[in-house]
Amino acid sequence: MADPVLAVHNISKSFGALKASDNVTLDLMPGEVHALIGPNGAGKSTLIKQIAGGLTPDEGRVELLGRDVTGLSTAARAQAGLSRTFQISALAMGYTPLENVMLGAVGQSGGVFRFFRPVMKDKMLLERAWQALKRVGLEENAHAMTSELSHGQRRQLEVAVALTLKPKAFIMDEPMAGMGAEGSKRLTDFLHTLKEEAPILLVEHDMDAVFALADRISVLVYGKIIATGSVDDIRNHPEVRTAYLGEEDAA
């Protein structure tokens, strides 16, 4: 039994009287897509922030490749190999896709405090950047303005930036959001190939994508994990059906 790449142990977080995360434990094994689903307001974003960085849990710890990263900043976790994409694209809108990916490459290389060499001529960084762009299929638009890209292209760019980080694990926050059927299918296929490189913790609402992609699913309701298992386990889990899928059946 391999060791988990990403492990979350007993994470709890309260905001005043509201318990946003209640003793959450889950892990991410090599080569898998582990989907995190749950109704709106279940506390998914709070949980993700505690895993990816930016919010400190009241209790519990987060481990990346066996190393305790709970106290580390977002930047430090990224340097350690935790790569993240955002639900609402977090891109530098005034940069080209190439510049955005180069930003990732620069961050990963740790060479931010280099003052004199023109970065856009750095062969090593450029190669990594172009590779990432090619993998998501954006090399044609590399010199456009990010603000002018379509929604789907920006989602692709998000993934490309995540790729430049030499990631050990991906956290993807609703990558399918706003994509049409065609785009979702392409992204699903892409993620399928990606998971071999680094496992993916996937937060998603698009249930078709989840059932097509996930190796395991965890269900988060009111801050608590109520079930973890394979696609079939979850599809047939009575509590999950009522709490989440039940609402969809009724709708």
Binding site: A52, G53, G54, S73, T74, A75, A76, A78, Q79, S83, R84, F86, A90, L91, A92, M93, G94, Y95, E99, N100, M102, L103, G104, V106, G107, Q108, S109, G110, G111, V112, F113, R114, F115, F116, R117, P118, V119, M120, D122, L125, M145, V161, T164, L165
Partner: protein, 327 residues
């Protein structure tokens, strides 16, 4: 729409041609005005790094301008009085040599920027603006109440400091020196903008969260930018003190901070030569409008309002072909 490179070349060319023409027409006052424009442009180039590239709205950059100026004032006044600054624990005498003065000015302003930056960067947004403003004023009030170097009345320096190989009292030579300094700094800033540091800084300005999630320590990045920015403005302060042969607490005042910002906005935020265009325009307005009316600042205010509301790109932005781009 014109390529920014050509606009920059024209601006630089004009800044040199005008004083040379003035020399030829025997108008030394114009040379002095041009020198003033160059020095103020340098101060704004410093701020532009933090403000334009970094997005750090520092409303207290006059603090560094003042420190640079007083570095010159203190060192030169001790030199002209033949009294040392300090005897214990080691001897520090005054100096009349510009290179030494500049070094002290740069180091002192960089250190101050480090302290103020470290404290201020704990905040963001409006807090940051107010805090930098407050620290600037703190130095202003301190300079007023410290009598040793003139207090409110300021300090006059009777000789212009020396630079090896030049007669700095000759207006065109002093102009040439200042312009050379400006060009060297511009070149450095240009390289900085093209470097990984510049990419990261402007990237963090556009989307801070993105920068963090690619592993960039944004606070440290900004602090370094802030320190470099303060050092450049400090150097300008030392030059300004030499131009006027006078330093006063006004150099620390927030009006001065505001003026430096005005140069940037008039010329074009984050544009390499924007500060040059803006400072030059300001000097022209001050001289000609000021000659027409004592209340010329009303017009300055209205022009500034117009630019902020309707012509955000400033002079360079209005003429240039593209948005501010990296690389």
């Amino acid at each position: 729409m014109i390529r920014e490179r050509y606009i920059n070349a024209v601006i630089l060319a004009l800044m040199v041609i005008i004083p040379i023409a003035a020399l030829w027409m025997d108008e030394p006052f114009t040379i002095t005005l041009a020198t003033k424009a160059v020095i103020l442009a340098l101060a704004a180039v410093g701020l532009n790094l933090a403000l334009g590239q970094g997005g750090l709205v520092s409303f207290g950059h006059a603090a560094y301008f003042g420190v640079g100026g007083y570095a010159m004032g203190i060192l030169a006044s001790h030199a002209q009085n033949y009294t040392p600054l300090m005897e214990v624990p080691f001897l520090i005498e005054g100096t009349n040599q510009m290179p030494v003065i500049w070094l002290v000015a740069v180091v002192a302003s960089a250190l101050l920027a480090l302290v103020i930056g470290a404290l201020s960067l704990r905040t963001s947004g409006v807090y940051f603006i107010m805090v930098t403003l407050a620290f600037g004023q703190m130095l202003y009030y301190f300079a007023i109440s410290w009598p040793a170097y003139g207090g409110e009345d300021g300090l006059s320096i009777y000789v212009r400091n020396e630079f090896p190989g030049l007669n700095t009292l000759v207006p065109i030579q002093f102009f040439g020196l200042c312009f050379a300094v400006l060009c060297v700094v511009l070149f450095m800033v240009h390289r900085l903008n093209q470097s990984p540091f510049g990419l990261a800084l402007m990237g963090a300005h556009q989307n801070e969260e993105r920068a963090r999630t690619v592993g960039i320590n944004v606070t440290r990045l900004r602090l370094v930018a802030f320190v470099i920015s303060g050092a450049i403005t400090g150097l300008a302060g030392a030059l300004f003190a030499d131009l006027n042969r006078f330093v006063s607490p006004v150099m620390f005042d927030w009006h001065t901070s505001g003026q430096i910002m005005i140069f940037i906005i008039l010329g074009g935020v984050a544009r390499l030569c924007g500060p040059l265009a803006g400072a030059s325009l300001y000097i022209i307005l001050e001289h000609y409008l000021g000659g027409l009316s004592e209340y010329w600042q009303i017009y300055l205010g209205l022009i500034l309002l117009f630019v902020v509301l309707f012509a955000k790109g400033g002079i360079v932005g209005g003429l240039a072909r593209k948005e501010v781009r990296h690389g």
